[in-house]
């Protein structure tokens, strides 16, 4: 891999990747007898067409960005933390737990919400630490460990919703009793987005950016990610660094779960993670694990998710089309990256 590629060829390849993804998605739509341009127009209008819509995009953006931020740390350490979904879920469970315990106490709502956030972070870290433990001491690949823990997290949620946390007289997966409004993250008037969750999201990605790009810790973590053995021989305590990476990612995932409970659903529901963990993995891959572009790309993905809701209303198309576009984008960017590298090598 020769690092001589100019910025322009890079850009050209990325542009080509985007065209490829759009082309593929358009082809899917044409096959479904739908007008792609009309669909794209609807997605755009449905995501940034009004302040209301844009605020909904932000509602999806914050947990997605938090999950992505966490994943950047584990990716940097060379770890595939697929367990991020379960870590988000556990964050949500811990936040719900804290709120249930404290909701009737004399504490001020602001303090309860803060404790909710902290509990969420702890929940995510707890779940990540299980995966870390299995990986580091049990030799279980983190992909399998994470996958397993995701299933356990889902089972735990469902058990809580149908069991100890069920609504009185009701046995339904629709969720736990909603918390009183005083315990909801306060929103901008008339909108669904809370300034507080936006602050949490932005602070999160800034912290990760500084950590990975501007500290010794980040540099060493990169070394661990590139070549664990070499890093160890150079005196980096790799075990500790892997622990740190997992715990940090769990912390951020847990915060994402807390935001979902405190700011979006105001209760625990079975699919509380909303798939933001997996989507966050796609975002991280698309930005080549560099935090610089995390915020805008996550915003773009969130906008696709929200904007695509227009498709069934207006065009009777399924909204999962946004997922097709997201997946195609990541695949084509990776593909183009491979093509570029191969061409460079030949030369």
């Amino acid at each position: 891999m020769v690092k001589t590629s100019s910025r322009w060829t890079n850009l050209a390849f990325q542009l080509l990747a985007i065209i490829l993804a759009l082309g593929f998605t358009s082809l899917v739509m044409v096959l479904a007898k739908a007008d792609p341009l009309e669909a794209y127009r609807n997605i755009v209008m449905g995501s940034v067409g009004s302040l209301n819509k844009f605020s909904d995009v932000l509602v999806a953006w914050v947990p997605l960005l938090l999950a992505t931020s966490g994943l950047l740390v584990t990716y940097t350490a060379g770890l595939w933390n697929i367990g991020v979904e379960g870590q988000i879920t556990l964050g949500a469970i811990f936040t719900t737990w804290a709120l249930r315990v404290l909701q009737d106490s004399a504490l001020s709502p602001a303090l309860i919400i803060l404790i909710g956030f902290i509990s969420g972070a702890l929940g995510g870290m707890l779940w990540a630490s299980v995966v870390a433990f299995l990986k580091i001491y049990g030799g279980v690949n983190e992909i399998f460990g994470g996958l397993g823990m995701n299933f356990v997290a889902t089972a735990l949620t469902i058990w809580l919703i149908f069991g100890p946390w069920k609504r009185p007289g009701i046995g339904s997966m629709s969720g736990t009793e909603p918390f009183k409004e005083a315990l909801w993250l306060p929103t901008f008037p008339g909108l669904r987005i809370s300034p507080w969750s936006v602050v949490v999201g932005i602070v999160g990605i800034v912290v990760i950016y500084l950590l990975l790009q501007g500290t010794y810790f980040g540099l060493k973590l990169k070394a661990v990610g590139r070549n664990r053995r070499a890093a160890f021989l150079l005196g980096i305590p790799t075990t500790q660094y892997m622990w740190m990476a997992f715990l940090l990612c769990g912390l951020f995932a847990g915060l994402a779960g807390a935001v979902q409970v405190l700011g979006v659903y105001h209760r625990l529901i079975p699919s509380i993670s909303s798939g933001y963990g997996f989507l966050g993995m796609l975002v991280a891959m698309l930005i080549n694990y560099q935090p610089t572009w995390a915020a805008p790309v996550a915003l773009f993905f969130a906008a696709l998710n929200i904007g695509s809701i227009q498709l069934p209303i207006v065009m009777k198309l399924d909204s999962t089309l946004s997922g097709v576009l997201q997946g195609a984008l990541v695949l084509s960017v990776l593909l183009m990256d491979g093509v570029r590298q191969r061409l460079m090598q030949r030369r």
Binding site: G169, I170, V264, L282, V314, K316, D318, T320
Partner: protein, 429 residues
């Protein structure tokens, strides 16, 4: 290069995972695009045509929105609502429906009903129908946030002054059918048909509504079992198994296909469905194909039997159209007021599409004898037969209604337990 392959294969796994997480979301798109073209063109053609021919009153367009919990073509609860919307478009001049289906957190992760209602409003909806009990919190939150929009929450009780959950919102109304009658007829048909004396009830989640509907099916079954067949009520087994939601969500609910199979495999030869979709009927057909004598009673949608006529005893269904047309007419005229409507059948003809809110269509698998007796049962109900009458005990043996006591609407709506003689969970433990 190796790394690239690794990345690609992980991506593939991810893609499969993502796909596995949203299984219910996929079946619709193949069918969806084919149907709609006809629909958007209709209203588009109308305005262009109208001014030329008739000058006097051109009906002003009134857009109403609908949030459907399941797919619009589920042959059950959601399709009944969807077709009611089409009925309104046909009957109320200028009315135009827009809708979002599969409104549940499993199919649309990251969204809330309030948010999706907002999407409908941004497309012009002045009235939004929330079609599921699952959207109760969303409907009420939305009604509070948007006082300018009329909210109809089907199956809810937020607008019932005497009810336990009265919200007193000037723009929130409720409508529900007195499906207890439909379920009683279903239970009667099942009791007249069963050869083993064992009836299974495929229940959705557990709440007031589902408890009272399951209980109604039991009451109907017991009545026809004892009064028409002259058999001992103790010989009738009636078991309820709940799946945990209105339809199958893999990995979250129990699998209704499995539950129906279990019933048929353990000597229950009739399964009454209480869920939004038609698994009971589909499985009955499968077992019939293997030579087993089994039947099923689907639910919600007038044409549900069509999926398997040969095992279908009939279907109790909702006919939401007339009520929705009424609300929308009132909304256009500006006379709409919040109300809680628990609407019964039109006893002159329970299958009148313009007047009866609930009905029962007999299925091809119902024998001639049973069919005549079902008719007799319907006419008895029409004449005032009330099965919510004491002595009745709750499942745990505590008294519900004393000898001769008739249950009030409140007692029926908020039925706290199943009834004595029924097997199955009353409240999830």
């Amino acid at each position: 290069m190796k790394r690239t392959w690794f990345v690609l294969s992980v991506l593939l796994v991810l893609a499969m995972l993502l796909a596995a997480c949203q299984p219910a979301a996929t079946p619709a798109p193949t069918t969806a695009p084919t149907q709609p073209p006809a629909e958007p063109t209709k209203p588009a053609a109308e305005p262009t045509q109208a001014p030329e021919v008739t000058e006097p009153v051109q009906p002003q367009e009134f857009v109403f929105g609908m949030l459907l919990v399941g797919p619009y073509n589920d042959r059950g609860w959601s399709q009944a609502h969807y077709e009611a919307g089409l009925y309104v478009e046909e009957k109320v001049p200028g009315a135009k429906m827009i809708y979002i289906d599969k409104v549940n957190p499993a199919d649309r992760p990251g969204t809330t009903p309030e948010q999706l209602a907002e999407d409908l409003v941004s497309k012009g909806a002045k009235l939004v129908i929330f079609n599921s009990d699952d959207m109760k919190d969303g409907a009420e939150a939305f009604a509070k946030a948007r006082p300018d929009i009329i909210v109809i929450h089907a199956s809810g009780d937020g607008a019932w002054k005497e009810g336990k959950n009265y919200r007193d919102l000037p723009n929130l109304g409720n409508v529900m059918g007195r499906m207890e009658y439909g379920k009683m007829i279903a239970g009667c048909a099942a009791a007249l048909t069963t050869k083993t004396g064992q009836i299974g009830y495929l229940g959705p989640l557990i709440n007031d509504e589902t408890r009272r509907l399951a209980a109604a099916a039991y009451l109907g079954a017991r009545y026809c079992w004892t009064e028409y067949l002259g058999k001992d009520p103790a010989q009738l087994k009636f078991k309820v198994t709940w799946i945990g939601f209105w339809f199958n969500i893999p990995g979250v609910t129990a699998d209704p296909t499995q539950v129906a199979d279990d019933f048929f495999n353990s000597n229950y030869d009739v399964v009454i469905s209480g869920i939004d979709t038609t698994e009971a009927l589909v499985e009955a057909k499968k077992f019939r194909g293997q030579g087993k004598e089994v039947w099923a009673v689907p639910y919600d949608y007038i044409e549900a039997c069509k999926e398997a006529e040969e095992v279908c005893l009939g279907v109790p269904y909702f006919n939401w159209g007339p009520m929705y047309a009424k609300y929308i007419q009132e909304a256009i005229a500006g006379t709409w007021k919040p109300s809680w409507d628990w609407v019964g059948p039109d006893w002159n003809d329970i299958n009148n599409p313009d007047t009866s809110h609930v009905g029962f269509v007999k299925g091809a698998a119902l024998s001639a004898d049973a069919s005549a007796q079902v008719d007799k049962f319907i006419s008895e109900l029409a004449a005032g037969l009330n099965l919510w009458k004491g002595p009745l005990n709750f499942q745990d043996g505590t008294p519900f209604l004393k000898e001769g006591e008739v249950a009030t609407d409140l007692q029926v709506w908020y039925l706290p337990q199943l009834l004595e003689g029924m097997e199955g969970q009353s409240v999830s433990e």
